[in-house]
Symmetry: C2
Subunit: 245 residues, 2 copies
DNA sequence: GACAAATTCAAACATGTGTTTGAAACTGTT
DNA sequence: AACAGTTTCAAACACATGTTTGAATTTGTC
């Protein structure tokens, strides 16, 4: 079903070759489409957008070269769909539910960090997700810029809220922003610089248990400062650190 | 001078066309070589290795297409030389001198952070340096891997020493490593995710003054935890935070 | 000034790319 | 069974890429 009329984006040129009707919505395999998206994700992540060839993608998907043109108009359309699908499957679900829970803000922060790092371990989200994101982070394409606005910005602003809440400052305060970047930076290092880190610290393995320890460390590391600058309550004695030492 | 015999790396194939002597070390322009390296850096940073074309590089350098082949054997050789030159001009000089100073380790840490972030502001190192590094960070090429071992690893290990010194743990302790990553992550966020950050926080400008404030924040943020877990001295009262609030 | 080496140049080469084509194979409906 | 709409396919197209060539030009030295 669906097929080419899906290209609602500012296309302009002619859609397909012959007739572009789709009234009866007849049955269609749709399987090649899926295989193409899956294969494309891997190849784009491995080689990067430019170096990835539609031929290799189609070969891995067991499809004909013309398939990408038929299903996604062209290479760019395929890439855009890969990104769009990533946004849907993104592991931000865990972060969102963590942010929605009712708990002390400090505990919420810990859970958000955990949720984010969990997504990095093993192959929970197909591991190529982060390799694509890593590429886009340093050199965003237009397709990614749109995604940022749609999925990343809301999360970012909720993080600002959360941290502002912890240190007792408004979300748009510069200090709040700097603290948010400090937390995000610690997390992103593992997402963006994974390969380099593994090279520097050969013993590092991204197992779920290890990611959990790392998440706890980042939470402890961050909360030390966030609590320190919080006005009013002066060094809450009961728990001076947090959990694991 | 120099010329093709510079290709000492595991080449194998024939070096150039005709004679490969260079005894008299005759005069040579060497200017095209420089122009090529400069132009290549920009183009590689803008487009990425794959998407960058030798034709655009040569056009920007005002040189003939065959020049890259003559001076650097091929595209890969040119890229390797760009990376090698970057290693030389890298702004790690400031970090090194900061690490060599004799001062309390906490103060050294602050200076190291400052030195690193200073390099990011404005256009001190040609701004394309970081765009290339950002690409290589997530998807390292063999050429980069060699550079990591030569320049990044030594610095990384001195950072481990320094932070281990602050928290009173050996450099190869896991906690020391995690803390080092926490500091590095905060710094690298600005180097690696610059474009995205600017998009999220439109007001952010990378002026030297701003980078200085950010550096101070990162130092304060990090030292809060590093001091907290340091054994023995329990919360040195005199200065509870550090400098700027 | 003459010679040889180093360097540049315009042109071509070989290859791989994204894309298109027109026909064949498939699908569900009448 | 016949049909219209869909999906697939092998082949080709148009083009841009990295690289090479052989001659021209420059450069330094005797």
């Amino acid at each position: 079903m669906c097929l080419k009329l899906l290209f609602d984006m500012k296309t302009g040129t002619r859609l397909v070759r012959k007739s572009q009707r789709s009234p009866a919505a007849p049955a269609a395999s749709d399987a090649t489409r899926e295989k193409l998206l899956e294969a494309a994700g891997r190849v784009f992540a491995d080689r990067g957008y430019e170096a990835a060839t539609v031929r290799e993608i189609c070969r891995r998907a067991g499809a004909n070269v013309a398939a990408v043109n038929y299903h996604f108009r062209d290479k760019q359309g395929l890439y855009a769909q890969v990104l769009a699908r990533m946004a849907g499957e993104a592991r931000i679900e865990g972060m969102r539910v963590a942010l929605d829970q009712s708990a002390p803000p400090e505990e919420i922060l810990r859970r958000v960090i955990k949720a984010r790092l969990q997504g990095l371990g093993a192959h929970r989200p197909p591991d190529w997700h982060f390799r694509i994101v890593a590429r886009e982070f340093s050199h965003p394409t237009p397709a990614m810029s749109r995604m940022i606005d749609k999925v990343s910005r809301p999360l970012y602003e909720r993080m600002l809220d959360l941290i502002g809440q912890i240190i007792g400052l408004p979300a748009d305060n510069e200090k709040t922003r700097l603290c948010t970047y400090s937390v995000m930076g610690q997390i992103f290092l593992y997402a963006l610089a994974g390969p380099i880190l593994m090279k520097l610290w050969s013993g590092m393995k991204m197992t779920p248990e290890q990611m959990d320890r790392i998440a706890d460390h980042i939470a402890d590391f961050s909360l030390a400062y966030l609590r320190e600058i919080r006005p009013g309550q002066r060094q809450t004695l009961p728990v001076f650190s947090t959990r694991r030492s």
